[in-house]
Symmetry: C2
Subunit: 534 residues, 2 copies
């Protein structure tokens, strides 16, 4: 494979630079390919001025940051390549606990989901006795909704009608009968796509009237990235770490009134269950937040992609939509709410399919037409992702052939996750200098880590955030890849990292023990240095 | 299905408005759902001020237009619903010739492509004797490249390594050995996604230094839509209708020097083979265009999604990359070029998979890192679309089990398209007042239509473009849905429509005869009115 050869010719060296508080990646020393077949034309003789340089690049792109696949992950890739090349390391593999990618960590797909997708892909399989009838029935119904009965035709930009109907039914059941209108449902390419679309509509104004978007800190960095890209104003409200990362309406008031001095806050984003923080919001808290949004005239964005990932027996997922309805017509008919779901999380973990949906309620009809126009430019979300989404909202029902296996698989995945959530919290809390809130839901722990002053100083000298130094050292010494808290935002002077709870229990225990050892050594090393410098 | 019920409750009435030259859609009279289950809370009692209104909407979103799924298509959907409800019309079905959606028009999927995707979806099928070994080998290789050997894990943001290697090999073979580096290849979610990403990087500046993007007129409206959304400046260069829609360097010079008075033109977009115009660029013309871009320091965007759709025996597809290389190192090492391909067109027509790739050459390394960061925010392109893309660039080879069937299917689809291209041109040119250039490639005819002055006047009164009036009448009277030329841009005073050549030859003949009858009647009607008003 010539391609492989050229790809190996490339040597990337990544330098981490810190400029005005932002971690940036500088890639240097990339050699041009030099395969035997390459003609002389490939030697760069003289460099003409480029059109696209760092100076001429869109400044809004420059401002974007995304830690989940940032410098630490690039470094992890490098180390993996070095291991492949036989380089000696104190570990034999890189464990990627940086991203909520369940299948990559060994989770098996839900059989029924893949069966329905395969049947839609190769309709000849509809005649095969290997596939169960309930999967075939779903596939037939979906194919009937596709142009030319093919997954290969564009769907409506809003998504296939029959799948939007299934989403609406799912939401009605989930929310105890609160009505859902398929016309308010839009299938998306993962939740990120939907969130970006809604934010794009809401961004307007200059100077004091520039749109402010309230986001939790810590947040999932899609939000800050989208805000940068759209040139909106990020308005931080802090989650209460001492209170299990709860949302606090007083803090919302503080953040809002501060922000009103320099922008026009119009949007309030909530992630429930929390990413990276793992809390599950109480019903009372949701009611307070909705009341706040109603009073302050804010558009609500509720990121509910972890709605199936609730582990603590004391916690329950409440959708914003349901609470909104229960608060009465004055709220339910007026508060503008977009909520998001995805195939990537839950018990399916189908990230690669890029399936998702959003429901948008109380959207003005003319604005709705504008959104449809915007969606139509991108033609449609991937249709196989739409099919995967359908199985999430329309799983085998009691009495159907696949129900037993499906239920078994689902329960097994979710109970494993619950076990790992507990395990992670417990082991981390045995480490001196690490404190971890209960992982009530979602897929991550976000422990607070004590970083000795001397390490903080060293990080400063190296031009990186202290928890970036911590995570880099952790990666280099143990092969464990986690993301520094600075990539998600945190109260000044506090440090964290985000790790997924996705590795198998066995691997997770090993990983956590390694973290423990590393942390203790890290403390010792810098305490010793502290002592020496005194 | 409650969902279905509520969806039928909705009555949409679409008004077409023309404001300052832009067709806009106004959706009015949408009733809220009123199912038996809906609680009283659903009755809107008092309207609180909304956060998101037409006044507060992002003005860049408002500025976006996209004709291919615009008002005429919404109207077509309405008519389809009316037909379903049993309403009497002068036709029994709506024929959607508005969008290049091959499978929706009955084209069958390439068997091998679907087999590979299905095998990746359900790896248990790898044991089935029903599937050929070459498809299994490809599926195994791709799954080995996926995290956890699952399509459900995120791929690298740039796309799976092994597929990018296949793309590079495909390009090298296509371009007679011109080297392609997998590191310069990015898998995308259809070509539109890649084009938007590159344009996003290139947009910067205010006032006179605002980025200008040169696009052909007529153009595929993704370009104008992306330019509006990004708040860049659209710089039109006109294709020469009298010369088979050829690109003319003198016209490029004219457009550029005019544009330099009010913006900073930095990008030149080419669509080859042309959409909506169907021309295939000559090698000589491409060389001239590259020389122009080199001299004028423009970033080249070459949209080559129809590279497999060339029908005229006198025409051949030349990639910009190949010609660039042949022009020598001064060009090949300096001109910044992004080119695009897709699974949606060609002979596969797999639009729903949202598969595509772009190759970007001579991109500064720091800018490349910025682009990677931007791509990583969206995590990855849909993995099953990546698999579909792999089959396009890595089809069964001579001696492989599936080669014969694959070649037969491919040839059949392409020869059918060639036949329809010829048929369309020929029949349209028999109509008085319609003139159609040869459809050398791509999937559309873009005939010029004569619209009588009285019809133009009527359109003015109705506040719509004359060819919009024409297309609306065509739709209402015959059920044929085509897109007015005004949605793509055209020389002032000329009128066109775009229709696909995708319906089966039989249906296409019928369609073209209907267009012919309609056009003759249209001329007669307005000529008569002309006479009456004299």
């Amino acid at each position: 494979m010539n391609g492989l050869k050229t790809s190996r010719c490339l040597s990337l060296s990544v330098m981490l630079l810190k400029r005005s508080g932002n971690i940036q990646v500088k890639v240097t020393g990339v050699k041009r390919l030099s395969t035997a077949e390459a003609p002389a034309t490939l030697t760069k003789e003289n460099d003409k001025t480029r059109v696209l340089t760092m100076e001429t690049l869109n400044p809004q792109v420059k401002a974007v940051e995304y830690a989940v696949r940032g410098p630490i992950v690039i470094k992890a890739g490098e180390i993996e390549r070095e291991l492949l090349q036989g380089m000696k390391k104190p570990f034999s593999e890189v464990i990627k606990a940086n991203i909520g990618d369940a299948h990559a960590m060994g989770q098996q797909p839900i059989t029924f989901l893949r069966q329905v997708v395969a049947l839609c892909t190769c309709p000849e399989l509809l005649d095969s006795p290997v596939f169960p009838e309930d999967a075939k029935a779903r596939a037939r119904r979906i194919l009937q909704g596709c142009g030319g009965n093919s997954l290969g035709s564009y769907s409506a930009s809003q998504g296939l009608d029959c799948i939007r109907e299934d989403v609406a039914m799912y939401m009605e059941q989930r929310d105890g009968g609160v009505p859902a209108d398929p016309n308010n449902i839009y299938l998306t390419s993962g939740a990120s796509d939907g969130i970006s679309t809604i934010l794009k509509l809401l961004v307007a104004g200059e100077g004091l009237s520039r749109t402010g978007v309230m986001i939790p800190i810590p947040q999932y960095p899609l939000y800050s990235a989208a805000i940068s890209e759209l040139d909106a104003v990020q308005v931080n409200y802090y989650l209460d770490e001492d209170n299990c990362w709860a949302m606090d309406v007083n803090e919302l008031h503080r953040a809002l009134s501060t922000a009103r001095k320099y922008c026009n806050p119009r949007v309030l984003c909530i992630i429930n269950p929390g990413n990276p923080t793992g809390q599950v919001q109480s019903r009372k808290c949701i009611e307070e937040v909705i009341h706040f949004a109603y009073k302050e005239n804010l558009f609500l964005l509720s990121d509910e992609v972890y709605q199936d990932n609730v582990y603590s027996p004391d916690c329950k997922f409440h959708s914003f939509k349901k609470v909104l309805c229960e608060m009465g017509p004055e709220y339910f008919n007026n508060v503008e709410l977009a909520s998001f779901h995805s195939t990537s999380k839950g018990y399916t973990g189908e990230c690669g399919y890029r399936g998702g949906y959003m429901e948008v309620i109380n959207l003005e009809q003319e604005v709705r037409a504008q959104m449809m126009k915007l969606l139509s430019v991108r033609l449609c979300p991937p249709v196989s992702g739409q099919v995967a989404m359908d199985v999430v909202v329309n799983p085998p029902r009691s009495g159907e052939q696949s129900c037993e296996q499906f239920t078994k698989e689902k329960k097994s995945i979710l109970s494993n996750l619950a076990e790992r959530a507990k395990l992670t919290e417990e082991i981390l809390n045995t480490v001196p200098g690490i404190r971890c809130n209960p992982v009530q839901g979602a897929m991550y722990a976000f422990p607070r880590i004590f970083i000795p002053p001397k390490a903080i100083e060293e990080a400063k000298v190296l031009g990186m955030a202290p928890d970036m130094l911590y995570c880099l050292r952790l990666l280099e010494e143990t092969g464990i890849c986690v993301v520094p808290g600075s990539g998600f935002g945190q109260k000044e002077g506090t440090y964290h990292f985000r790790m997924t709870i996705l590795p198998s229990s066995e691997k997770l225990k090993l990983l956590l023990e390694k973290v423990k050892d590393f942390h203790v050594k890290f403390l010792q090393r810098y305490a010793a240095l502290d002592a020496m410098s005194r």
